[in-house]
Amino acid sequence: MDEATLWETLTRVFQDTFEDDEITIGPETTAADIEDWDSLTHIQLMVAIERAFKMRFNTGEVASLANVGELVALVIQRSP
């Protein structure tokens, strides 16, 4: 998956999870930037990302990933 497609997919996942088609994300986006990003939507977001990219985060990753830049790095690293 090239990086442009990755960003497109990830943006879609964010928009779906937070039910807001206006959301845009960048490497610097964190939980503080998105109003509804709380502990529960975080779980929904992680599950949606796992499923969209067909990969599995470990427990620590799910717990600590709160920054889109790190997320993208991890998705790239895990992609075949």
């Binding site: 779906d16 779980i43 599950v47 949606a48 985060f57 427990t59």
Partner: protein, 616 residues
């Protein structure tokens, strides 16, 4: 999903709803379901559904996080045709909420409470080395804990309770020896599950999480990561099957369960096409893998039939050809007599399905359709969206599992009537033959030798009475749905005139077929509920009930009976029942239906060809 988006964009909300609710029954993938839930929310805001026959109030209580279950559960319940209001208690507060008569959950006055416990809510586990006797005591105590909680809640808040049982744990510290070791955790959980099933009272319905988790595999069912991080009781892979399974129990409680399974023949009940391949060419029975797969499907269908599901055939075939395998092939598990309707012709299948529903006096939405041909499935979906269409694969070995997973026939009780139902419908067919050979209808009724028992509600019949109240649609004047607890309340209320009718005739017992309930207020009797199974339409039962009620009303000093006809999409049959029985129209006090009254003093009883009996 894109179709749904487009329908909403175009403002075609009715179609969007039917598309959404169909998907709510069939989609099991979490990502797609989550997306459907978002559309569900938007659609509710844009175009709320019209008044539904029943809106269920559901209290969701859990020893796990239930937030993420709420929206999928709402969609799954609404997909069955019910409205739904959900009140969710906070994480792990279920004990307080259930014991306290003033809790938010109690004040919500739910119709159904879902109690979602997990292995983390087991109060005491066996200790290493505990004897079987000690483990049995703990099993009893565990059941006392859960069922006691249900009982206490039910005392102050009568409602149906859906209680989870427990899936086994994903690890086996004792390995295979656990099976021989009572204090082993999984050994213990299995005993608890069996005991819960044995001991649960009528208002507690076990949500068989153990069975469902086994169906998917515990490792897939339970995701430790999301349990540790957020106390999710079920993995996201299995979340949708879990809520759909839960929703089906709730649907069954209110009669939203299919009654008849309509089956295609060629490549559905046997391999090949009987008209082309002939008796020697079709695959059915032992000796050939494909034939065995079809045989296994027939065996599964026979089990459904034996528990009261009606089977019907709808096949594009010459009837003579279609019947041949049933008559001439001993390998066929199903026989012609197992089917209450047999349509083999070249008419479009939706027409045949409508006829089947009409002949059986059931709604089209009580039909489930199984056909290997995707084109036939599609035409039925389009023409008759109320029919539940099962999406098959091209492998007959998958058929039983697919049909089983669809869970269309969920029930919460199994009455003697269910077990005899097919025989009753077949006797009806015989009665129709008798009817055609006799000129005068009254002669026919007399020849039936009918006997009826009319009695007030009794505890032993509560299950059947509740079932009838919640599933009768056509001969039903008010379509008032009641939970078992509400029926029980009426049974105990001295101001209620309640009755049920059992009817037998020379062909056999029709079982409990009619229910009536009226409340006495001063010198008036207000009829709350009057319904009858359509199996016994035009037999004189309604006149008999009217005679009986008027007689009782006189005895109670009632000077006026008041009845209402509240129209629904299905009860047009009884629109004119009250005037036909001599009731007079009342000035329109309400705009919800028509209202009728009767002065018992001016009533002369109808003649009916039914003999009243104490018992038969």
């Amino acid at each position: 999903m894109d179709g749904l988006r487009e329908l909403i964009r175009l403002g075609q909300y009715d179609q969007a709803w039917s598309c959404l609710l169909e998907a709510g029954k069939t989609v099991t993938d979490y990502t797609r379901y989550a997306s459907l839930c978002r559309w569900h929310k938007r659609l509710r805001e844009k175009a709320p559904r019209r008044e539904l026959a029943k809106t269920v109030r559901i209290a969701l209580l859990g020893g796990a996080t239930t937030e993420l279950l709420e929206a999928p559960l709402r969609l799954a319940v609404e997909s069955l045709g019910l409205g739904c209001q959900i009140q969710r208690a906070s994480y792990n507060l279920f004990v307080q909420e259930m014991l306290d008569a003033d809790s938010a959950t109690a004040e919500f006055k739910p119709d159904v409470a879902i109690l979602l416990g997990t292995h983390a809510n087991i109060p005491v586990w066996p200790a290493q080395g505990d004897t079987l006797e000690r483990v049995d005591v703990l099993v009893e105590q565990t059941c006392d804990h859960w069922l006691g909680l249900c009982a206490r809640f039910n005392e102050h808040t009568p409602c149906e309770i859906v209680l989870n049982n427990f899936h086994v744990l994903p690890t086996r510290p004792l390995g295979n020896l656990g099976v021989k070791t009572p204090w082993d955790a999984n050994n213990f959980l299995r005993r608890v599950n069996l005991a819960l099933g044995d001991r649960a009272p009528a208002y507690v319905h076990i949500n068989d999480v153990e069975g469902l988790a086994a169906r998917y595999g515990v490792r897939q069912w339970f995701d430790e990561r999301y349990w540790y991080l957020a106390k999710q009781p079920v993995s996201f892979e299995c979340l949708v099957p879990y809520v759909q399974n839960t929703a089906r129990i709730i649907g069954a409680l209110f009669g939203y369960t299919a009654k008849c399974l309509v089956l295609d023949l060629d490549n559905t009940l046997w391999g090949g096409v009987i008209g082309d391949d002939g008796l020697d060419g079709i695959a059915i029975g032992e000796g050939d893998g494909v034939g065995e797969a079809y045989k296994a499907f027939q065996e599964y269908l026979l089990k459904l039939k034996q528990r009261g599901i009606l089977l019907a055939v709808c096949s594009k075939n010459e009837e003579e050809n279609a019947l041949k395998p049933f008559i001439e092939l001993p390998e066929m598990v199903l026989k012609r007599d197992d089917f209450v309707c047999f349509k083999a012709n070249w008419e479009p299948k939706p027409n045949n399905l409508r006829e089947i529903a009409a002949e059986l006096n059931i709604g089209v939405n009580s039909l489930v359709f199984v056909d290997d041909n995707p084109a036939e499935r599609e035409i039925v979906r389009q023409w008759l969206p109320e029919v539940r269409v099962i999406e098959l694969t091209d492998d007959p070995a998958d058929y039983p599992g697919i049909l089983d997973d669809a869970g269309c026939f969920e029930i919460t009780t199994l009455s003697a009537e269910d077990l005899q139902r097919v025989a009753q419908y077949q006797r009806n067919a015989e009665r129709k033959v008798l009817q055609s050979s006799i000129g005068d209808y009254d002669d026919y009724l007399r020849s039936l030798d009918q006997k009826a028992v009319i009695r007030p509600f009794e505890a032993k019949h509560l299950d059947r009475i509740t079932q009838l109240i919640n599933k009768s649609n056509q001969f039903n004047l008010t379509t008032l749905r009641l939970s078992r607890s509400q029926v029980e309340e009426r049974m105990r209320n001295p101001d209620m005139l309640t009755l049920y009718v059992r009817l037998a005739d020379r062909f056999g017992d029709n079982g409990l077929i009619s229910v009536f309930c009226g409340e006495r207020v001063d010198d008036e009797l207000n009829i709350q509920l009057w319904l009858m199974s359509c199996r016994v339409l035009k037999r004189g039962v309604e006149q008999l009930v009217c005679n009986y009620v008027v007689d009782k009303a006189r005895g109670l000093g009632v000077s006026r009976l008041h009845g209402a006809y509240l129209p629904t999409a299905k009860n047009g049959l009884v629109r004119d029942l009250y005037p036909a029985l001599g009731f007079v129209a009342m000035s329109n006090r309400h705009d919800d239906g028509t209202h009728w009254s009767l002065d018992p003093a001016r009533y002369s009883p109808f003649e009916v060809s039914i003999q009243l009996a104490e018992d038969y």
